[in-house]
């Protein structure tokens, strides 16, 4: 059964129903937009989840194949640092934005290396 998508979808439907209820009160447009928008977004997420979900209750053919777990990811830490520096650059100036951007580029390169290494390790296992 594919039911996980139901959770956000039901949640979204509930929000939409309440947004419709708000109409009866002579609504403030911003309230309807926020509540209805959030509900619609959750219904969409639920729908997408339902569409893409694979069967989880039945054992899958590749269940016995070991999958590599990333153990350490220094690049992810560097990426976080880069994002933080980039955002703070809005206060400190363009030099800070450039440093943050550069750090993000380095981090993404590192992440690509990590993914490749993982694939190689999985292939040789």
């Amino acid at each position: 059964m594919r039911r996980s998508g139901l959770v956000p979808a039901a949640w979204g439907a509930f929000l939409i129903a309440m947004a419709l209820t708000d109409l009866a009160y002579g609504p403030v447009p911003q309230e309807i937009e926020m509540l209805g928008g959030a509900g619609l977004a959750m219904v969409l997420i639920g729908g997408l989840s339902w569409l893409t979900e694979r069967r989880r209750l039945e054992p899958r053919p590749d269940d016995d194949v070991p999958r590599p777990l990333p153990d350490l990811s220094v690049s992810t830490v560097v990426l976080a640092l880069g994002i933080a520096i980039l955002i703070v650059g809005y206060e400190f100036g363009p030099w800070c934005v450039f440093i943050g951007g550069g750090t993000i580029v380095v981090a993404i390169a590192g992440l690509i290396r990590e993914f490749r290494a993982e694939r190689r390790a999985a292939g040789s296992a």
Binding site: A38, M42, L69, D71, L72, S73, A80, I87
Partner: protein
């Protein structure tokens, strides 16, 4: 509980790089717990300074400007950097285990979330080092107070940017948690077999999925306003400050529920374990909590603006009162779990009980704020301070301590001292009520919040002195907890059984602490209490309950 006395060597340290970059959700969860407790201590010190200032009338320990910064940073630290991250930390650690997963979904994303949270938190606190001081426009950065003309200086900008970074980090952590619950469940773990705590984390993260981006965008617009002269939220703009409040509270009310929902899950697990019973009314609990309570909480933000007269007062008042129904279901189910149970009065259980009655006070004082006529009377008074401290501190924090005493052996392979734990509980209960109960009376008498001093003629001195004494007792209680952690971890290690408390959910099927891949074997999952199923099956077969191991019943009836 019996503990075998086999002494084992301490765990090998991962080193600094390992500590920083490990993607193991258990290590990540522990790092988040540690970071959030550090921020809690920082926020607590700010609270103590404020209570010292208010302990006597006409005091000038700190200037009014510093007091503004203190209450802003106290609220911000506690909400953005302590309670929400602590809730997420429990989810990051426990949801994969309770779902029977080997790993959290998106481990790198979860790691990114943690570091963004930590970096954002440090940036937020960095405001103390700036010339003008840190953010001082309240924890909601209310516009137009937070606009550049009224709150100049880099501190407020760092506050805004820090909260943006923290919120992105929290959002990423939430995505990983909900994806784990939805996609990584073990075979047999259907939605309606998920542990109560996991369900409440699902409700929590659903709220975060849509509410957190609203905060990030709102604060980005506010920062744009500060740099470019008030385009969106400045006074005089057609929507102006009300638009800011609508947007902020669209995030701001769900965050209140994010701050207690996971902890209700802790209480559910603790009550179930220490009463030796399954969760009573599980389906109602799940439905009532996730759909009515959590989703309902997303449509009551307008009650924060009732006195503005710019929202649908009837709609928001009606919705807010509707939450009483969901809360009633939760309370009924939690108390029903205890009914005819074989109760063990452990520290975790006592803290869970503390949550129940203190949170009730928080909930009941909430009715005053939900009813428009009463809200006009108490708006911006100390009763509001009492209300949210009873829900978040006296409620959530007590439940968090219940969870910590309950899961500490799972996290660290160490049992916290029960004796020190009970001292901690007694002191915290006394301190909490001494601090926050007088605030109800002060609010009724008209003491407004966010004032740095008050004249002696108002007659508020005695109650304020009691509150300050209570704050000191709270500090003492937290010190006892930290001593408990230190003493318990210094004691010789013993190998704990997998399930020292006879808990019911799946995390107790593995070792304390669990291995890197979480489980060597899973028990059959036939209900939301698989460990209780195992025990009952073992009892049916005449096996001693203390010796039940997952492999005993997974081997197709080959229980030995």
């Amino acid at each position: 509980m019996s503990t075998p006395a086999l002494v084992v060597p301490r765990e090998q340290s991962l080193g600094l790089i390992g500590w920083m970059a490990s993607t193991d959700h258990k290590s990540l969860g522990k790092r988040m717990i540690g970071a959030s407790i550090l921020f809690f201590v920082v926020g607590g010190i700010m609270a103590l300074i404020m209570r010292a200032q208010l302990g006597q009338p006409d005091q000038q320990i700190v200037s009014p400007e510093t007091y503004n910064a203190l209450f802003t940073m106290h609220g911000s630290t506690m909400i953005y950097l302590f309670v929400v991250p602590l809730a997420l930390a429990l989810g990051v650690y426990l949801v994969p285990l309770q779902c029977g997963a080997a790993e959290i979904a998106g481990p790198r994303v979860a790691l990114l979330g943690f570091w963004l949270y930590l970096a954002g938190g440090l940036i937020l606190e960095l405001g103390w080092a700036t010339n003008g001081g840190p953010g001082r426009a309240t924890w909601i950065a209310v516009a137009p107070l937070s606009e550049m003309q009224r709150t100049p200086g880099s501190g407020q900008d760092l506050w805004i940017l820090g909260v943006i970074i923290v919120s992105i980090g929290q959002w990423l952590s939430a995505l990983c948690i909900i994806a784990t619950a939805m996609r990584k469940r073990a075979p047999g773990m259907t939605l309606m077999r998920m542990a109560p705590f996991t369900w409440l984390m699902v409700g929590t993260t659903l709220m975060m999925v849509f509410a957190w981006p609203v905060l990030v965008v709102t604060l980005a617009l506010l920062e744009w306003d500060r740099k470019n002269g008030g385009i969106f939220f400045a006074a005089g703009h057609p929507a102006g400050p009300i638009a800011y409040q609508q947007l902020f509270w669209f995030y701001g009310h769900p965050v209140v529920y994010v701050m207690f929902f996971p902890f209700v899950g802790c209480v559910a697990e603790v009550f179930s374990a220490f009463s030796g019973r399954r969760m009573f009314g599980y389906k109602f609990f799940v439905f009532g909590s996730v759909l009515l309570f959590a989703a309902g909480s997303s449509m009551v933000w307008g009650h924060h603006l009732l006195t503005s007269g710019r929202v649908d007062i009837k709609f928001f008042s009606f919705n807010t009162h509707g939450l009483i129904l969901a809360a009633g279901i939760e309370y009924f189910d939690l108390l029903g779990t205890l009914w005819r149970g074989r109760i063990r009065f452990t520290t975790a259980f006592l803290f869970a009980c503390g949550f129940m009655w203190q949170f009730l006070i928080g909930g009941l004082t909430g009715i005053w704020t939900a009813a428009p006529t009463l809200d006009y009377h108490v708006n911006n008074s100390y009763l509001i301070v009492a209300h949210f401290h009873y829900t978040i501190f006296a409620g959530s924090l007590f439940a968090a301590f219940a969870g910590m005493y309950y899961w500490w052996p799972k996290f660290f392979g160490v049992l916290l001292s029960e004796r020190l734990g009970k001292v901690h509980f007694v002191l915290l209960t006394i301190g909490t009520n001494l601090t926050f109960a007088p605030m109800i009376a002060l609010g009724q008498e008209g003491m407004t919040r966010r004032i740095s001093t008050y004249p002696a003629a108002n007659g508020w001195g005695t109650l304020n002195l009691l509150e300050s004494a209570g704050a000191g007792i709270i500090a003492l209680a937290i010190l006892v907890f930290l001593i408990n952690v230190w003493v318990s971890h210094r004691a010789p290690r013993v190998v704990l059984p997998n399930n020292p408390w006879q808990g019911n959910s799946l995390e107790w099927a593995t070792t304390c602490p669990p291995p890197r891949h979480n489980f060597d074997g899973l028990p059959p999952i036939r209900s939301y209490a698989p460990m209780m199923d195992m025990r009952e099956e073992a009892e049916d077969r005449g096996l001693p309950v203390e010796e039940v191991r997952p492999e005993l019943v997974t081997e197709q009836g080959a229980a030995t």
